[in-house]
Symmetry: C2
């Protein structure tokens, strides 16, 4: 039995339901999502393998997850650097930046220079609400993520992939296959085109919500915030 | 070198600073605090030893930490029950209750009946802002926590203990020594009178803040949100 996926529309509806009748704030959901991203980094690439992590953040909630993850990575003993060229205007994003500044986490102006000094990459540019066009300055960043030999963990979607259709047939993301993907709450349909290691994160869904959205969430181990699954969504 | 402690006043100042210039919301801090409480429960008493956990919550932020912990305990495979007789009026507390209700977590009307059907206890009644008198209906609850053979984990302080002075010389908490204590952010001065297993939680303090408040925080292992320390605050 394969895990069922959330398309862009239902993923948005599920988040809205969690924050409406579910009682969650975006602060809480993003904290748990970002923490799960940081735990996936720890599992894939512990600090002993190189502690420099470059986190590329987009302007929306995917970027916010990246900012939270970077804060936790700092506390786990990494040296994160943030690339955040289009900073989200919501108050929460500003506070996440303040938190990182309090930890003396560096913000890089130029992605390509920062890429020369990193051991690991987190792609938190676009998430499930992405559609259409990759706007400046992200085309060259996505090309670099595609072409680098440094391993990349993508958050919820390899950036520039269409959430339902998967990898783009042209443009900067053509041929982009990150080493790893963490799907938040549940995988998106694009997962069937993904060939790397796959994690689930976001351990906060009730059984009722999972049923309502026809999701088949595998059990998470112990008190982890992540579970590794195959590309069919089965627990490994 | 012993860990330095935070008295009630400086603990309040530190929290205020985290939320003011530090950029944190109470939602975020409470999420991480509650998660660390749930991880301590997991370490002390994994679900295989008995999955029923009764979480006694007070009306303030200590109770809020307990509510967050209970939600995570549910996801870790426990069956938590909440005793929350004086529900905090802040919107956050109401949302935490909604989250638990969405998971079908039970709220007990009577602590003493609930105590008959539990394997583990979390004392989240009073935290660092407690002073003075134990008001109804908590005196008999604290007496029961003192007298039961079921193990108790206290959050930040054994409830009814004076934050600086420690165990009360009279009243319901006289002689109360929980099996375990999790100190949030840093131990409080009462810790020198505590004889059980001791954890630190709340992995979000910058080195600068730790220095400013003269705290000597030991390193947390891996990506854990808790670290076990001795009563002098040294890592075990």
């Amino acid at each position: 039995m394969a895990i069922r996926t959330l398309n862009a529309k239902t993923a948005g509806e599920l988040d809205a339901e969690l924050m409406d009748s579910g009682g969650f704030s975006l602060d809480q959901l993003m904290e748990l999502a970002g923490l799960s991203v940081s735990q996936a980094v720890y599992k894939l690439h512990p600090p002993s393998k190189g502690d420099r992590v470059l986190v590329a953040c987009g302007p929306g909630n995917n970027g916010g997850d990246g900012l939270v993850a970077a804060r936790h990575l700092h506390h786990f003993g990494y040296t994160p650097t943030i690339y955040y060229p289009k900073q989200g205007k919501a108050e929460l994003y500003k506070r996440l930046v303040t938190q990182l500044q309090s930890l003396d986490v560096k913000f890089a102006e130029d992605f390509h220079s920062a890429l020369k000094n990193t051991d690991y990459l987190v792609d938190a540019i676009f998430g499930f609400s992405f559609s259409g066009e990759v706007r400046e300055p992200f085309p060259s960043v996505i090309k670099a993520l595609r072409d680098t030999k440094i391993p990349v963990l993508s958050v919820d979607a390899p950036s520039s992939w269409h959430i339902e259709i998967g990898p783009p047939e042209e443009g900067p993301g053509q041929g982009f296959q990150p080493e790893a993907l963490i799907s938040l709450t549940a995988p998106k349909p694009l997962v069937k085109h993904f060939k790397g290691r796959h994690f689930l994160g976001g351990r906060f869904l009730s059984k009722q919500m999972a049923q309502k959205y026809s999701l088949d969430i595998p059990p998470y181990p112990g008190c982890d915030q992540i579970v590794e699954v195959d590309v069919q969504g089965q627990k490994l």
